[in-house]
């Protein structure tokens, strides 16, 4: 470092919801930024995974977009153009299609990686600049089932029930369907702290993941049977007299109906449904009930199901029956996935929501938000289609004809991706804002090059519900604009009502006002407070309010203040295995890649660590199918075929295979997945479908289109 270099900028990692603190510094010579983990951020306390360490490389990827691209017609190639030409085209197409088909002809698709300011502005843009109801985002694919279940049980959905450091003092933690050792490695430190102090970690996962290997107890259920397992655990808890009766009476409602339902989940029935042996169930319940402080945490494995809301509810029921939620140092929590997965779901990107986690069909909410936006409540559209429904309606007679997409790559990340590709192709017009030519951007009519992460400021709300500052470390490259700038200019061209700042700080002031009085109340949070206090937990209704690290200690956010039990029944996966498709497929992530891979597949060390998609197969299954380690394998479901390399491991059940979903092209896991939707959360069933496997004949090894060499 030279004396002339500016001081390091304190910010957070661009990737997952843990939002590890990092400092970015440069030598002032335009060279790559230097990443240093921050010790002062409790989430990571000086730790970083390989994605974090290499995050700065995304700023300088060779194919970074620095000029708008446009194609003259659907068949023409994408070619560089001026910003004016690109924005004129976007505005004129919107105006034309809206004129011909009405406001719902234009759709918006957002992302859980966008800052709070951008997510807020995008929702506002859809509702009052486009006047469309057709907006949703990729968070629908992420934790929406946990959000729906938490809302139903507690009246509010806020990731973790307290600071992440509370976990380190737990006597027991039940982690359902989460492989944090790979998806957010520094989070493991908190679990390890608990274990070192004598606490127990219990992991539920069909795979013996890196996380499961560190657990004191690993329950390895058949994919799609988590709900039966949760009801079975509750049955055991009742039988062994481990319920907190006083808590049940004082703080909850509806337990009797749950008790009746779980009476039908006696241990040996559950053993048969799940494959989890009875003694392990008993041990799990005893560990969970033994100590003073315990947590039940769910992640995508419990949530990404056609009955995901009910699956999560079953685990919330267990937590409630043991008296955990609303007690300091205990509770139920959802491990949010995307960087701003929490904040992204609070401020109006969701089809049915307005800022502050308000419902768009609530007249009071509409009146409040309309007043902030300077429009009449009746001018706000109603609820629109959820993510997969929206994507699969594109270009249909009733569906949208145009779409604006920010911060998402659904060609890789949406279920049954081939249909999504087809629908995108059927649009009259697609505009994508991104900083790299993602697989989805390459299908657009107009591509708008945007600033990323370290080039802009704003706030992110991490998995704890703590609002954090993201700070600009370098200016965006010439030719690149921020999402807020793009929205402001487009609003102007569309003669939208309201004000459209491109300054994150100003947008945040408006967000505070719009969220005031809502569930996710940010009214008392300021940039200055975030800096000074190391983040502020919502709800925080006034600047004098300390924020709420641990909600529900006095009462739950339900009308009567009590948490609500909901009785739920196991029905199994939407698509079960059969003679034609005899093997379960489950999908998930690996450590060195992130989501659709648009960022991480462009970072050399990450590509070295995880170069291509693969399918994990148990040696017994592989032996029967004549598949050897490293062989090419065609994996087929009723929806498509993916070709990937076999990786033999006994860490997976022999009736199940696993494919990570980060890659594009032939190895796309989402060519196979089942878009069966949860009736409440509209979450697709990424975590289980039926497939068959066959070896690819020698000499025709799979081609990896996804990785960039």
């Amino acid at each position: 470092m030279t004396d002339t270099a500016a001081p390091d900028v304190q910010t957070h990692c661009p990737y997952c919801a843990l939002q590890c603190g990092m400092s970015l510094g440069g030598d002032g010579d335009g060279g790559p930024l230097r990443v240093t983990p921050r010790e002062d951020v409790p989430a990571n306390r000086g730790g970083l995974c390989q994605k974090g360490w290499t995050a700065a490389e995304v700023l300088t990827v060779p194919d970074r977009l620095t000029a708008p691209l446009m194609r003259a017609s659907r068949d023409a190639p994408l070619e560089p153009c001026t910003w004016d030409a690109a924005l004129d085209r976007v505005a004129s197409e919107i105006t034309r299609l809206r004129g011909a088909h009405g406001p719902d002809a234009v759709a918006v698709f957002g992302g859980g990686g966008l800052t709070n300011e951008k997510a807020y502005q995008l929702g506002k843009f859809a509702r009052i600049a486009l006047r469309t109801s057709q907006i949703d985002y990729n968070g629908r694919f992420c934790m929406s089932s946990a959000a729906a279940a938490s809302g139903r049980a507690f009246g509010m959905d806020r990731g973790l029930p307290g600071p992440v450091t509370d976990l380190g003092r737990a006597d027991a933690i039940l982690l359902v369907g989460g492989n944090v050792a790979e998806t957010m490695p520094p989070f493991m430190r908190h679990l390890t702290d608990a274990q070192k102090a004598g606490g127990a970690l219990i992991v539920v996962d069909p795979r013996r993941t890196a996380t499961a290997r560190q657990a004191n107890l690993h329950l390895q259920p058949t994919p799609g049977t988590d709900l039966a397992l949760a009801n079975g655990l509750l049955h055991v808890a009742i039988q062994e007299g481990l319920l907190d009766e006083e808590y049940l009476a004082a703080r909850t409602g509806g337990f009797e109906a749950v008790r009746t339902v779980v009476n039908g989940y006696w241990p040996d029935r559950v053993e048969r449904l799940t494959g989890v042996p009875v003694p392990y169930m008993r041990e799990a319940v005893r560990l969970l009930a033994a100590g003073e402080r315990a947590y039940v945490l769910t992640a995508r494995g419990a949530e990404q199901h056609a009955r995901g809301t009910d699956m999560v509810t079953a685990f919330i029921n267990l937590a409630l029956a043991l008296g955990l939620p609303g007690r300091p140092g205990s509770g139920y929590g959802c491990l949010t996935g995307q960087g701003n997965g929490q904040g992204g779901r609070e401020h109006g990107q969701k089809a049915d929501q307005l800022p502050g986690y308000r419902r768009i069909d609530d007249p009071v909410a509409r009146a409040h938000v309309a007043a902030v936006w300077g429009v009449r409540p009746e001018d706000l559209p109603g609820p629109g289609r959820s993510a997969y429904e929206l994507l699969s309606a594109l270009g249909t007679p009733e569906g949208p004809k145009a779409m604006l997409l920010f911060g998402s790559n659904p060609v890789v990340s949406a279920p049954r991706a081939s249909v999504v590709e087809e629908r995108l192709g059927a649009l009259d017009f697609l505009a994508v804002a991104d900083f790299v030519p993602s697989e989805t951007a390459l299908r657009a009519d107009v591509v708008l090059p945007t600033a990323q992460w370290a080039e802009e400021s704003g706030t992110m709300t991490n998995l704890e519900g703590r609002v954090l500052r993201r700070n600009r470390a370098v200016p965006p490259p010439p030719g690149v604009r921020t999402d807020l700038e793009i929205l402001a200019v487009l609003a102007d061209r569309l003669h939208a009502p309201g004000t459209w700042s491109d300054e994150p700080a100003e947008v945040f002031e408006e967000l505070r006002e719009a969220s005031a009085g809502g569930l996710a109340d940010y009214a008392g949070i300021t940039y200055a407070r975030i800096e000074k206090e190391g983040g502020v937990f919502w709800p925080c209704p006034s600047e004098e309010h300390p924020g709420t690290p641990r909600p529900f200690l006095e009462r739950f956010a339900t009308p009567d203040g009590r948490a609500r039990f909901t009785a739920v029944e196991h029905t199994g996966a939407a698509e079960d295995v059969d003679a034609d498709y005899p093997v379960y497929l489950t999908t998930g992530r690996v450590l060195a890649q992130y989501q659709s891979g648009a960022q991480t597949r462009r970072v050399g060390p990450l590509v070295d660590a995880a170069p291509e998609p693969f399918v994990e197969v148990h040696p017994d299954l592989a032996g029967r199918l004549g598949i050897a380690d490293g062989d090419g394998v065609r994996v087929a479901s009723r929806r498509g075929t993916a070709t990937v390399r076999a990786r033999l491991t006994d860490a997976i059940r022999s009736d199940t295979v696993f494919i990570p979903f980060h890659w594009a092209g032939e190895g796309r896991a989402n060519l196979l997945t089942n878009p069966a939707l949860d009736p409440m959360s509209r979450m697709p069933e990424f975590k289980v479908c039926a497939v068959r496997l066959e070896p690819v004949p020698a000499g025709s090894a799979p081609v990896d289109e996804g990785a960039i060499a």
């Binding site: 390989q50 493991m188 009476n263 053993e271 048969r272 003694p279 450590l591 860490a651 022999s654």
Partner: protein, 494 residues
């Protein structure tokens, strides 16, 4: 729609019996179709309960009010005409009407018999008018309550019948502090589910828990004084008699399908009501039968799992949710519900080593109460017993249920976690390519290179390679490797 006489009401489904099978069918149908007219008759006046859990109630593990399966308020809320405490006295198949003991007559489109079974009580002399006080046949919740009441002041109990239910009852009573003897006709306990070896180990385990077993024992009668039971009479080995004193006798000699109504209605009945794979009576297409009163493929299924499977199939068929649904037989898996006795048994467990087609694997450690056996034919589990330690039961039950091919490693059928080699944990045995730090993709080779480059402490190695900066879990391994490299170096130098 008003003032419609019963005859012209739309003909719905009428279910006779509200036990495990009938109540399940009601909820399964409602889950698929909220509107189809449904009537259910239950002879017991209370809400249906989980009979599987009666042993827990007897053992004092569950309270009687903790085993309900459907809340009483559910019926009205879901538009189900529930006639609890009403017996069906007659079926008029011609008019398609059932007549209840309350005088009701309900027409049906489909009639489902789910009448279950009754306990079999051997015809002991002097019990023609019923069992004496202190002797109870164990079948219903009322029986269970009666046994619990009787156990209050009792000291010695005899359980007649060493099958599943008898052993569960015996274990429960022993847990309540009674001296308990199980009297069993066969040469070993649970002879339907267990081979003699397992039966022997089970008897030994029970003995430790305060339950004595009398095997090959033929009960000839009950001791009765002043209308109260005083014990049981056994036929002695030499043709004489022997008696065992008891102030509580529990009869658990098995069950008989309740098929009186079906017989009277002229339906074909063997041991149960004979049905096809759509659970339809072979005599009358408007009548179906599920649960313990039905017989499919020559088998009357006595466990709950097949009955619930039948309920699912029938609900699919009756609501049209899945017109292709069929019941093609079920595999029965038995798990004993008795404190401190872990036992699972399934399928054909009696095979010895004499059948060349059948491979038998056994592990026995009688002193610790462990007995494990798996019978295999054509690479499939055809039977298994796990006694004393059941942590592979999840795997075995699923392999058996699905007739799935067996793992190459047979040990994993008995011992969890035995599959697959553990990764090398010693730095010496670890290859250079082995990943030490997953979070930052650092191999042993890179740590070695870093060490050779001058880094001499774990801190230095971690700072340079980023190993240990993610989850922190490899920190010990890094320290181990650095220490080992140091030792190697000093050996080389020395």
């Amino acid at each position: 729609m008003n003032d419609i006489d019963p005859e012209s009401r739309p003909r719905g489904t009428v279910i006779v019996g509200n036990g495990m099978a009938g109540s399940r069918l009601v909820t399964e149908i409602r889950a698929r179709d909220p509107h189809v007219p449904l009537t259910v008759y239950g002879a017991e006046p209370r809400q249906p309960y989980n009979r599987v859990l009666l042993s827990n109630v007897l053992a004092g593990v569950s309270r009687p009010d903790q085993i309900g399966l459907v809340d009483p308020s559910w019926y009205e809320a879901n538009g189900v005409d529930a006639r609890l405490g009403v017996e069906v006295v007659r079926i008029d198949r011609e008019a398609r009407v059932v007549h209840g003991s309350d005088g009701s007559a309900v027409p049906y489109g489909t009639l489902v018999l789910a009448t279950g079974s009754n306990s079999f009580v051997p015809p002991f002399p002097g019990t023609e008018d019923g069992l004496p006080a202190g002797a109870v046949a164990f079948r219903t919740l009322d029986d269970c309550r009666e046994i619990i009441d009787a156990a209050e002041g009792a000291r010695r109990a005899v359980v007649i019948g060493g099958g599943l239910l008898g052993i569960e009852a015996a274990r429960g009573l022993a847990g309540r502090g009674l001296e308990v003897t199980v009297v069993h006709l066969a040469g070993h306990l649970m002879e339907r589910q267990l081979d003699p070896g397992a039966g022997k180990v089970l008897a030994r385990t029970l003995h430790r828990l305060g339950v004595c077993s009398r095997l090959d024992a033929n009960v000839t009668g009950l001791g009765i004084e002043a209308g109260r039971v005083t014990g049981v009479e056994l036929a002695g080995a030499d043709g004489g008699r022997e008696s065992i004193g008891a102030d509580l006798v529990v009869v658990a000699c098995g069950v008989r399908p309740e098929v009186g109504l079906a017989r009277a209605a002229g339906l074909e009945v063997d041991r149960g009501v004979v049905v096809d794979e759509t659970l339809r009576s072979v005599t009358d297409p408007a009548v179906r039968a599920i649960g313990e009163c039905s017989q499919y493929g020559g088998t009357v299924y006595g466990l709950v799992a097949p009955a619930w499977e039948q309920a699912t199939v029938l609900a699919d068929l009756l609501t049209g949710a899945d017109a292709a649904a069929r019941f093609t037989g079920a595999r029965e898996i038995t798990r004993l519900k008795a404190a401190s006795v872990d036992l699972v048994a399934m399928g054909e467990t009696h095979h010895g080593d004499d059948d060349p087609e059948v491979e038998v694997i056994r592990f026995a450690d009688a002193s610790r109460g462990t007995y494990k056996k798996v019978a295999i034919r054509a690479d499939r589990v055809i039977g298994a017993i796990l006694l004393g330690e059941t942590s592979t039961a999840g795997t075995l039950t699923q392999l058996y249920d699905r007739a799935a091919p067996l793992p190459a490693d047979r040990l994993s059928l008995f011992f969890p976690g035995m599959g697959g080699a553990q990764p090398a944990d010693s730095p010496v045995r670890m290859p250079d390519a082995a990943t030490v730090c997953n979070c930052n993709n650092v191999s042993k080779g890179r740590i070695r290179a870093c060490w050779e480059d001058g880094a001499r402490t774990a801190d230095e190695v971690c700072a340079r390679t980023r190993a240990g900066t993610g989850c922190g879990g490899c920190r010990d391994a890094v320290e181990g490797i650095v220490a080992w490299l140091g030792e190697q170096d000093s050996v080389a130098a020395g």
